[in-house]
Symmetry: C2
Subunit: 318 residues, 2 copies
């Protein structure tokens, strides 16, 4: 077993790691993510070339390249759609990347890649883990009994579309008051629009300065994250919930709000005290992108991919 | 592999089945459930004697006896607590029953037994299944990728304590507006008290006759069941959700209300239309109690139980 590459294609940056057979990180690279089909592919090619250069091998030496990407991902065909932030309507990403770099390509959505990576990094004393992504949207990835859990239709962890606010905002999904309308980048943009280039930090600054609307939006954000954790734990009873995503860059102030809420819930409910929501949540582990690490592991854990008409059908997209 | 017995100890009736090595039902028995420690044990002994008599063997011939029971069950020690409807505060049920019948005893809560049995009966084309029990309380059992999923602390499926009504009723758990305060026998007793011996049917009759409060309580009940199904599917993405429990004895009228709601949701949300909640729900399969069948299977699927101090430690409670 040789080296594998994992690429985490985010809205602004593309992180990549090369890992050895034990899953340890050998090299890292980060580049800005280009927008649109061609530029997204170029960003991916560049980080792979970076890693190959650092290690001193040809890119074709890598055993596999795994990609985690936001949007709707067909893990069987390697097709990505609705990756709106990347300017991708629909792209045969695995095929296209496999054409440029002759290595088997594996693909999954960013949240599934993140939970796989977080599970690897946090160690093997956990049977199950959720990765709650509070990013542009809200969704979770699940590792249950040591394996990624996608579910029947790939909807596992789509808790952003569970309504929790009966008279809330209309969600893009067509429902009213979904978690995603309260706790996500989209929610903040709708409830507290700003021209600031860092809207989350601006929101917390304004709330801190006493602006009532900012305080209300910030507090509801924290409520929604707590709701999401409670839904995950009372449904799947995962050992731990890692909370990540762009909104969590708010940092310590947001964690303090969460902490207050978990403490108050445990004080009001002996049942929730025994569930211990507070003891289960944790931040994203420091170090290289867990989504990139998880993407690298896709080559280990995914079923062999077949591509109709591919010369390499039966193995992967290369 | 010989015959196994499964016992479903309910609030009013105790159902039991004997199954062969293939899991097919050989014999059935139903008795009223006695109240309190001694009478619950006597009810269990009686149904086992019934099955032995029907088949024409001694009770000790059975390979194992599995018991599904409401309340908090420690599957490792066989201890039951808080089975309030049965008049049980705390009972070493596995030890006590194993003393009376020298057969290995396995124990789980009724909802886990029911999902195991439903999974067996509905067949093996399902990877995952939830059993949503709308009984005195509201909770679900989960089979994920063919195996019972209990979670880290035994809280998997405890969705009855997810709040969905911000200004709702105080739940026994200490939170406000939990699903269980809307969709359960407890909820109906609080919201629409009656002396009728069949409160669910009385509620539906009164609603049908035009009583506004009965209609409101009935409609919220249906809303709550739909909420529960949506939470289960958007979190775990199970292939199917079986809905059972005493409240579902309301029958066709309740299923029609659920059907209307699933249809309306799919019409308002292309996302939920693609998830197809309506296509995933189904009633409890007809025939012998699925909880009794599932209880019989506990002897197959549970880890070997050990009992401190037992002469048979390492195998089970016998």
């Amino acid at each position: 077993m040789g080296m594998r590459v994992g690429i985490d294609i985010g809205g602004t940056k593309t992180h990549a790691v090369a890992v050895d057979a034990a899953g340890d990180v050998l090299a890292e690279s980060t580049r800005p993510t280009g927008r649109g089909h061609e530029q997204v592919l170029v960003s991916a090619e560049l980080v792979v070339a970076d890693l190959a250069g650092i290690i001193g091998v040809a890119p074709e030496t890598f055993e596999s390249i795994g990609v985690g990407i936001p949007g709707t991902v067909d893990v069987h065909t390697g097709y990505v759609s609705h990756a709106v932030n990347l300017g991708i309507e629909g792209l045969d990403l695995a095929v296209e990347l496999g054409t440029r770099i002759a290595v088997p390509i594996y693909l999954d959505n960013d949240v599934n890649a993140a939970v796989l990576g977080a599970y690897r990094v946090l160690g093997h004393d956990l049977a199950s883990l959720a990765y709650l992504n509070v990013g542009t949207g809200l969704a979770a990835g699940l590792v249950l009994n040591g394996k990624i859990h996608r579910g029947f239709g790939g909807f596992a962890g789509e808790i952003g579309h569970i309504p929790v606010e009966p008279n809330g905002l209309l969600c893009a999904c067509g429902q009213i008051g979904c978690l995603e309308t309260i706790a996500s980048g989209i929610a903040i943009a709708r409830r507290w629009p700003t021209d600031d280039s860092q809207p989350i930090r601006a929101l917390f600054r304004a709330a801190e300065a006493g602006e009532p609307l900012a305080q209300a939006v910030r507090d509801r954000l924290a409520d929604g994250i707590v709701d999401a954790v409670r839904i995950l734990v009372l449904t799947t009873d995962v050992d731990a919930v890692v909370i990540g995503g762009g909104v969590m860059t708010a940092g310590r102030e947001l964690w303090e709000l969460l902490d207050q809420r978990f403490t108050a819930l445990a004080a009001s409910s002996p049942f929730l005290e025994s569930v211990d929501l507070r003891g289960r949540v944790r931040p994203v582990p420091p170090g290289p992108s867990v989504a990139a690490i998880g993407a690298a592991l896709l080559g280990e854990t995914h079923p062999a991919l077949t591509l109709p008409g591919s010369a390499h059908a039966g193995t992967a997209f290369a």
